[in-house]
């Protein structure tokens, strides 16, 4: 039985993680000469937060429900990179992400 709290927490963790990834890429893009910049640091903070929330919620939920929610991070990242980083959202990428989402969900079901 997966509590609603677990689901919400994993969902939140996923969003934080995805946004963190965006900040990583943005940080690496914008300031190539600086090792640690504010954007990169924020990415780390969000990433760390996401991991902590994730570890906490993974203990109290069915993996078959939590994995798919977490797999949505691939969807969020595709959307974020398309709109905020101007990367092309091609049909092949969409299909690839869809397959990955299905694959991760199935692994969750099998766990």
């Amino acid at each position: 039985m997966t509590s609603k709290t677990s689901i919400i927490l994993v969902g939140l963790s996923t969003l934080l993680l995805s946004f963190g990834q965006f900040l990583f890429k943005k940080g690496l893009n914008t300031f190539p000469e600086v090792f640690l910049n504010f954007t990169l640091l924020s990415g780390f903070i969000l990433y760390g937060l996401a991991l902590v929330i994730l570890l906490y919620s993974l203990k109290r939920g069915d993996l078959s429900v939590l994995y798919p929610i977490f797999a949505l991070s691939y969807v969020w990242v595709l959307i974020l990179s398309g709109f905020l980083l101007n990367e092309a959202i091609t049909g092949l990428k969409i299909m690839g992400v869809g397959l990955i989402f299905l694959g991760v969900s199935l692994i969750g079901v099998g766990s």
Binding site: Y74, G103, G110
Partner: protein, 112 residues
């Protein structure tokens, strides 16, 4: 972009090892300072940290929407590692899931 792919490949493998050690560490995990002595926890975190650094390097060599999906290969490694090292059982869901991930990853890698 090939360098990026190679780096993510390595990063995902390291991340999987990290997950393995963290799983081992979770059996005696409590939220307390004594966890500093939890060897599996420390090793696992190191693997994760290292994996993240390599992933960040990989990000410099490619688009986020191409590099990040490749991180899902971690799931593939984890399924394999947990089967051979932790004796967790394989089932049709895990196998099919792994195949779909590999397929999806190839689609995305192809766009580069």
């Amino acid at each position: 972009m090939l360098i990026g792919f190679l780096l993510v490949f390595v990063a995902s493998l390291l991340g999987a090892f990290g997950a393995l050690y963290l799983k081992r560490a979770s059996s005696n995990f409590r939220v307390s300072l004594s966890q500093v002595k939890n060897k599996s926890l420390i090793v696992g975190l190191f693997y994760y940290g290292f994996s993240t650094l390599i992933f960040l390097t990989a990000l410099k060599f490619g688009e986020l929407s191409i590099i990040y999906p490749l991180v899902s290969l971690t799931y593939v490694w984890v399924v394999l590692l947990s089967h051979f090292k932790l004796q967790e059982s394989l089932n049709k869901f895990k196998v099919l899931g792994v195949l779909l991930i590999v397929l999806g990853v190839s689609f995305i890698a192809y766009t580069a």
